[in-house]
């Protein structure tokens, strides 16, 4: 894997983790509100 590809994957994984947490919060909120 080239250096550029590793860097792009690193950015994608980081943003993906943050996005997943935001979705998790959204689902938790929906569940709590019934």
């Amino acid at each position: 894997m080239s250096d550029t590809a590793v860097v792009i994957v690193t950015f994608l994984v980081s943003y993906g983790l943050i996005g997943s947490y935001a979705v998790y919060l959204h689902l938790k909120l929906r569940k709590a509100k019934g």
């Binding site: 860097v7 690193t10 950015f11 980081s14 943050i18 935001a22 919060l25 959204h26 909120l29 509100k33």
Partner: protein, 237 residues
């Protein structure tokens, strides 16, 4: 549109702008493309430090005022802080693997103190999950939230106190070791990630408020189900 959605939307736009700066800033002569990772690695650990300081403030205020909102603030901030510490550790390992030739070194002061800080705050979340009584939970986690914040300056200054593998701060009062374009890109990302922290913190607090309301609702229903026996029923027996 709710306050949380507006904040998350603004943070999303700021992250896209930050990404553009990160990808268009010049690459380092020695590190090459890997130097761009600094635009996630540094802002995420900065946000984590802020998050843990906010937790200590929330914990202190809970000890003083004993109002649930301070406990909510402290706990919500830890959750976001742990997420960002994890991302900073992950991106640092990818960068280190390429530039240092090793993803991890237990002999390095900054890496080890950051890992310890990460696990202590994971322990904070585990502690909260293990206690049902809201007041006991708030008190015990407030004590841990106040004590654990000592790790923030210890981790930050670890590179100055112990000269091991991790380099010292790139931006210092006596000047910077980075060119202006790279500093601007990092500062834009610092602002974007700080905004993202605020948005996620507000969202997490909203979830905590909704969960407490749901819990109160469920408790009331459970209480309603248990009715005291009527006098006539008791006499029949």
């Amino acid at each position: 549109m709710t306050k949380v959605r507006v904040l998350l939307g603004l943070a999303g736009v700021a992250l896209v702008v930050g990404l553009w700066f990160a990808l268009t800033a010049p690459a380092d002569a020695l590190q090459g493309e890997y130097s761009r990772i600094i635009n996630i690695h540094v802002p995420t650990i900065w946000v984590a430090y802020v998050a843990f300081v906010v937790t200590s403030v929330g914990s202190l205020m809970w000890m003083w005022k004993k109002t649930p909102k301070w406990d909510r603030l402290a706990a919500s901030s830890v959750e976001v802080g742990v997420l960002f510490t994890g991302i900073s550790l992950l991106t640092g390992m990818i960068w280190g693997n390429a530039v240092w030739g090793t993803a991890w070194d237990w002999g390095d002061a900054r890496l080890t103190t950051t890992a310890v800080m990460f696990f202590v705050y994971l322990g904070y979340l585990a502690l909260r999950n293990s206690i049902d009584d809201p007041k006991v939970r708030a008190k015990r986690s407030a004590i841990l939230g106040i004590i654990a914040v000592v790790q923030v300056p210890l981790t930050y200054f670890a590179v100055n106190l112990f000269r091991t593998l991790h380099q010292t701060q790139s931006i210092r009062p006596d000047g910077s070791t980075m060119p202006d374009e790279m500093i601007v890109a990092m500062m834009v990302n610092l602002g974007a990630f700080t905004l993202l922290y605020v948005a996620l913190l507000v969202a997490r607090i909203e979830v905590a408020v909704a969960e407490e309301a749901a819990s109160a609702r469920d408790t009331a229903l459970a209480g309603d189900a248990v009715k005291p026996p009527k006098l006539d029923e008791v006499r029949d027996v």
